[in-house]
């Protein structure tokens, strides 16, 4: 079974530019999460999709970040315009249906390392 994949693995952009990160969850996983780790600190939650709907976007830092999950499959996270403090590693994770709240673990992708110069 293929795991969670993320593209690109690395991205280096200049301040003010736009970057789009992509995440492909494990097939059949309704839940998709975005997290971010900045400068070696803790991994922080950004948002959670259930299928194509945003279940929780309380962690999104500001309106420069836009996440979409059209069709409930892959997701994109766009940063526009990028700022220096956006540098970090962006992780995507997916998990199975949680209607029964059975606390399935989340499966993580390898992350995208974003560097804003």
């Amino acid at each position: 079974e293929a795991g969670v994949t993320q593209f690109p693995s690395h991205s280096v952009i200049e301040k003010g530019q736009t970057v789009t990160l992509r995440c492909d969850p494990i097939s059949g996983h309704d839940n998709l999460y975005w997290y971010r780790r900045v400068m070696g600190k803790e991994i922080k939650f950004l948002l959670h999709f259930v299928k194509e709907s945003k279940q929780d976007e309380s962690g999104m830092p500001n309106n420069r970040f836009l996440a979409e999950r059209t069709g409930g499959t892959y997701s994109t996270l766009k940063v526009q315009p990028a700022e220096l403090e956006d540098s970090g590693v962006y992780f995507c994770a997916s998990s199975q249906d949680q209607i029964k709240r059975d606390h399935n673990e989340q499966f993580f992708g390898p992350g995208t390392r974003l560097t804003v110069l």
Binding site: G3, V4, N31, Y33, Y35, G40, K41, E42, I43, K44, F45, H48, V50, Q55, D56, S58, G59, F91, A93, S95, Q98, R101, H103, E105, Q106, F107, F108, G109, P110, G111
Partner: protein, 114 residues
């Protein structure tokens, strides 16, 4: 609000010795606790979780963790460390009111020397 503390930035241990990685948490209601490991250039891999039941949880690669409610701790342990266990370890918590949002600690780098 939920929070996780991993008090040690790095743990050094000789191969064959016991390994412990500490984690304490703060959460409303019953906690759901997880350990993940990140090897270089890889994503986070799930090790184990505590939801309910036996306080001692066994996971992948010979790891186990003990849930201690009174001390609000969930320390990760391995009786005999391997050089290949050298990696970055993250503790995470979810409260009973959240759907899936995980709160992570800052991570602990484990270095196992031959």
């Amino acid at each position: 609000a939920q929070s996780v503390a991993q008090p040690e930035d790095q743990v050094n241990v000789a191969e064959g010795n016991p390994l412990t990685v500490k984690c304490t948490y703060s959460v409303s209601g019953n906690p759901y606790l997880f350990w993940y490991v990140q090897y270089p250039n890889r994503g986070l891999q799930f090790l184990l979780k505590y939801i309910t039941g036996d306080n001692l949880v066994k996971g992948s690669y010979g790891f186990e963790a003990e849930f201690n409610k009174s001390q609000t701790s969930f320390h990760l342990k391995k009786p005999s460390a391997l050089v290949s266990d050298s990696a970055l370890y993250f503790c995470a918590v979810r409260d009973m009111y959240s759907w899936g949002k995980l709160q992570f600690g800052a991570g602990t780098q484990v270095v196992v020397t031959p």
